[in-house]
Amino acid sequence: MTFHSIFLAPLVFMQVAALIWAAVALKGARLKTVFILFGVCLLVANLVAALPGWPDLGGSWVGALGYIALLAVHPLAAGCVLAVLRDYWGRRRTLFISLAVVSMLPAMATGIALGWGPDAVYATYPVSIIPAMWLAFALAESIATWLHSSLKGEAAFACIVGMILLIVSGPVYSLELESVGWEHALGVIPAAPLAFAAFLWSAWKANPLTFKRPLVIANAHPPDGLQAGLHLLDEARPKYAAELVKRRARAGMPTWVFVRSESEDAKHRYGNAQLLKIPSSQHCALKVVKTIMLISREYPQSVFLIEDLSCLVCNSGLMESLEAMKAVSNHSRMNHCVTLASLSCLTRAEVREFAGLPAYYWKLPVVEEEIAAILHMELGPASHHMLRIFCNSKKMRMEDMMMYHILDLQEFLKRILTSLSRNPGDSKVLDSGLSQVGAIVSKLDRFRSITLDDLAKGPWPSASVTRRDKHGWLVKATDFGFGTGLGENASHYGGRARGAFEEALGEGGRALYEQTLQIMGLDEKDIEPEDFPALYKTTEELLKLLESHESALRKVDKMLERSSELKEWLEVVGGSMNG
């Protein structure tokens, strides 16, 4: 064995790490392209480096097979690691097995062809490289974390290291060929120390011995200063919750998200956080609690997000979900972890039930409406069109806009407003356009980095913008407080009450409901759950009054019999009648 062959394992690992780094850091739609590109680069570099050793193969088919095996084995091994990384073992078992087997077979063939000496052991290195794969995994994950963090300097450093790894991969490969007996490798001596330094750096930064390492990069200060315990986030869709989770994950904290479905969209929404699917079984609330307890014991500073409490309520029922959240609240406080739970998709009555738990309750604005309000302050009604154009360019609806879209929106506005200001006028017009852009960008920046505390203190940007009759979609913060922002139309509870009357009292229910409203002097759209007890009481009184009229006696008798059902129905649609 030559002197520089001691660098072999780390150098091989470095090649694999480079591939994985590329795949992880640039995951998403471009993943396949990037992976293929890097694979091709690696292959070409290897071929160029190994070309001088070709005559040593002697032209035999066994030698050629071994040569091909050595060329193919790196990308395939990288593919294997990637498969582990992306949990193909759990989800795409066939693909994982095929990658593993395919990467083993040529190497084994080489071993058979060359005989089972030390060289052949190296040739079958996909088996011996498993520890190196873990190293690669750790490195790639930590680089990806840095890449997504605000520590741009370190991200740039990671990028440079990645590039160096690719550059040295060719000479490194020639070293490998030399070690298995094929001489004339080029570029080994200058490349080896460089790659070795990179290896030392990665080993120092990314302790490969434990899987936990990337999750506890540092005892980072929570970016938003959330207290340990359960935090209930009252927002129309879990958008600010997603932003909080992303911020924590970016700061290198262990972050777990319970999602309804592990879609690509969810992965994109929550960044580096681990996704856990909420089981759609009867006692899913208890299972979620159990999972939180297990994980938080292992990772004490974890952050959990239950994306959709309504999912728990649907499957486990309201009472069990409330009990489960009570347990989560206590456990989180005792174990110094933060659990966020989104109250989206719950009725106001259900929200009130959850708000009664020993937890922090945060009323949050509708993200897209706040963004619209910020734009409206500077651009007036044209902001609506700007947002529409932006959303069209992203192929999404306006209500799908998330906090992470703000950066793209800023870029878009900079481009379009500068262009629009350049066209129609003199320097003053351009100056005013640029100043509008500057104001919007700084306001959006402030909103993007706002903490829960500041958000709760208010005022929200939408508070300063009046309702737009023309488009009818922008609401004031004060409207939001009364439910408009939650997507509840004005007759939300009125419609529910009407339904309860019809369900409980049959055909006559509707007429009775309308008469009751008349007596109470209420409009259907003004009904709130608080009115339900009075609604029931008035109806009962009305029925008793009608009882004295003989002509309607039979019908009213029936209705009186079923009036207890009405009470139950009203409880179902509006929450507790005693509440």
């Binding site: 651009l379 009604p381 044209a382 629009l420 200001s421 100056d431």
Partner: protein, 237 residues
């Protein structure tokens, strides 16, 4: 109430001292009655005296407008510090008209300039062009909203409106319209310009303050003559 002087000879006198600040004044008239020139002259003279203003042109390109005004003796360089010309006509060539919310764009530019530049005088040339570009369906409501917005902008606005030649002659007690969509009722003031036949072959430009809220103005027709500047005088038959 503060008044913005027009600095046009004779006009401030019949206006009762000038245009009340913050009002929306419609300048209407048939083609050739020098609506744009009079408006530019007023904003130019105010700019020369340090009152910032913008002239929003939807029809005529800025270069053509400024060339025309230079020919009339209004040197753009002299007022450049306080007067800005917003050439939305140039933007029209770049943006598809059917998809462009022109009223909203106009508001966006104007409010941006108001914040940055702090102008106190605005000329919109012309309301009819804006209506056509904006594809307004409910004209009266849209114009009402536009005028309310102009008032909220806290500047004095001169809005140029076009009248067909025949209708300008036909402004009588039976048909007292000064606009197509009754925006004359929504404006705070109306200055009507018309061409009146004089003698066998001659034509004379005439001006009348139809209304000007908050002022004690003359309601008679006056002759308006351009000779190195506008001059408003009594009509001499």
């Amino acid at each position: 109430m503060d008044k913005i002087r027009t600095y046009q000879e004779g006009l401030d006198e019949i206006l009762g001292g000038g245009i009340p600040a913050g009002q929306v004044v419609l300048i209407v008239g048939a083609p050739g009655t020098m609506k744009s020139s009079l408006s530019y002259a007023i904003i130019h003279e105010n700019a020369l005296r340090g009152l910032p203003g913008i002239y929003v042109s939807l029809e005529q390109h800025a270069s053509s407008l400024l060339y025309q005004m230079n020919r009339l003796g209004y040197d753009e360089k002299a007022s450049a510090e306080y007067l800005s010309v917003l050439d939305l006509a140039a933007l029209r060539t770049k943006v598809k008209e059917s998809e462009t919310p022109w009223i909203d764009f106009f508001k966006m530019y104007a409010s941006g300039l108001r914040k940055k530049f702090g102008f106190r005088f605005l000329v919109l040339d012309s309301l009819d062009a804006l209506e056509i570009l904006a594809h307004t369906r409910n004209h009266r409501k849209d114009i009402f909203e536009l005028f309310s917005w102009l008032r909220e902008l806290d500047c004095t606005s001169l809005v140029i409106g076009e009248l067909a030649s025949s209708s300008s002659d036909a402004v009588t007690l039976e048909h007292p319209g000064f606009s197509r969509h009754r925006e004359d009722y929504l404006a705070d003031g109306i200055i009507h310009l018309k061409l009146e036949k004089q003698g066998e072959f001659g034509m004379q430009r005439r001006l009348r303050i139809v209304k000007m809220r908050g002022t004690n103005h003359s309601t008679s027709y006056h002759a308006i003559i351009f000779d190195k500047g506008f001059r408003v005088t009594q009509v001499v038959s």
